[in-house]
Symmetry: C2
Subunit: 321 residues, 2 copies
Amino acid sequence: MEQTMEQTVALGVDIGGTNTSFGLVTRDGVCLVEKQIPTQADRPAEELFRRLSEEATSLLHASPELRLMGIGVGAPNANYYRGTIENPPNLSWQFVDVRKELHRTFDVPLAVTNDANAAALGEMLFGAAKGMKNFLEVTLGTGLGSGFVANGALIYGANGFAGELGHMLIVPNGRLCGCGRRGCLETYVSATGLCRTMRKMLEQQSTPSELRSFSTETVTAKRIAAAAAHGDALALHAFDVMCHTFAVGLANAVAFSEPEAIILFGGLTNAGALLFEPTKRYLEENLFSIYRNTVRLLPTGLPEGSAAILGSAALIWNEIA
Amino acid sequence: MEQTMEQTVALGVDIGGTNTSFGLVTRDGVCLVEKQIPTQADRPAEELFRRLSEEATSLLHASPELRLMGIGVGAPNANYYRGTIENPPNLSWQFVDVRKELHRTFDVPLAVTNDANAAALGEMLFGAAKGMKNFLEVTLGTGLGSGFVANGALIYGANGFAGELGHMLIVPNGRLCGCGRRGCLETYVSATGLCRTMRKMLEQQSTPSELRSFSTETVTAKRIAAAAAHGDALALHAFDVMCHTFAVGLANAVAFSEPEAIILFGGLTNAGALLFEPTKRYLEENLFSIYRNTVRLLPTGLPEGSAAILGSAALIWNEIA
């Protein structure tokens, strides 16, 4: 009789506003199988977790050689200490006890955190921060999230809410933020922030730009990046302004935490050199002298498709390893 | 024959620009004996360490029941990882291998860090942060130093230079800092920063003030605090401006690290409510909503005279305990 070698896996779950992705991830960071289901954020959270549990159970039944070691969940406004999701933006749920929901089906360790923290752990175990003990992960998407690792451990803070670099006040009396204050870093540095800058430039300046052929609402970060890549002066200027503000925010984060690297993750990083080159230059200009030329600015080392699943699975592997 | 009970102590050393203080500190944070010698910063560092070693040796010989467990040293620009002091301001030394100097005489564990980090450890073991795992210590003296504890450990950063909150850029194109950049927090928030604000107000405003009887160079932080305590409108305004800038810097530090408390230490804290009341009020106004009413602003719990010695000794007790 042939005996199959058992393989241990962690279930990584990434809950987004539209879809929820999940997959079975080995200790080496290989995602063996993954799947996506609609989040249905307007329905009760219990329903999502019931569907998720059913789907994950069948994935596991289909591969009896896999042994589930734990479940890691990345979600907006997730709290590591409490194992909850609390008042998530873009989801209709107020308070979800994630551990309770998943323990109905699975008797394994569970860990929950926000997507930026999950990305940081994924990077440390499987990506660009392998072997690093002190680094900062910055997620540039619709907003700006961050995860911050020091002494080899993710810093969760007193109540699980550390790492909100996007809500550092960077411009006195600056742009109104969704949080109700003015001048938060993410109102300038994020896909949304870039679009705000670009629209203002299109309105206030007469410089020709290929973006003038789009209506205001359809000027997206992707289109700005494309225009900048074509050499569009106004789009390049919008990137430059964003990168300068970003660099000042990063210089402040460095003064506080002295990371060996800052790793950028998320949709905006597809802009490549348009983002990295000016940010790196302005960062060096704005760093306190003792930090100059000591902090690397790196792109994520996680594969684009399964990065979020790997990050969530890393929550488990990080605690078992 | 009577037998004396052995008691373990750590030698805490605080190297300042003028004097070097040291003392023998028990695990409970009692400084049994302390002494001060002139630093003689214009002479080679070897001489200070030779004198220090002799003096400490005689203290120990005088109390044979004391057993030395280690030596902790707090000094400007000290590096925890390397056990060195490097290009310290106000001292003529370029590079001092503190561990090597003290190991000539003492065969015990040695640890070295800057004064703000030492204060944070002292606070955690013996002061206002007892039992806390996540807090921020801010030292307000001539400059602004900070020590930052997360997950119960001091955050030293990649190369031992974390915690430079005083060099966060807080005012775009603001005041020139000793570091060569503009707008660093400590150019506004420190004894020096307060004096700069006050002098500017005295020059630019015609409001009567008791400080007008002093020449510009003799307007000290202590005199500004005394005037403010008498109700002097201009001095109160200078404090208010300083506290507002401080609060914005602290709000940003909270967004990053989410401490349960911020503990203030150093000469300026003698101003008491003049400092704490507006800082707390502006902090709450400027905090990202999830942090409001969760972060305590506390005065140091270390006794004024021996705080620096206790902090340095805590470097040893923290690693042994």
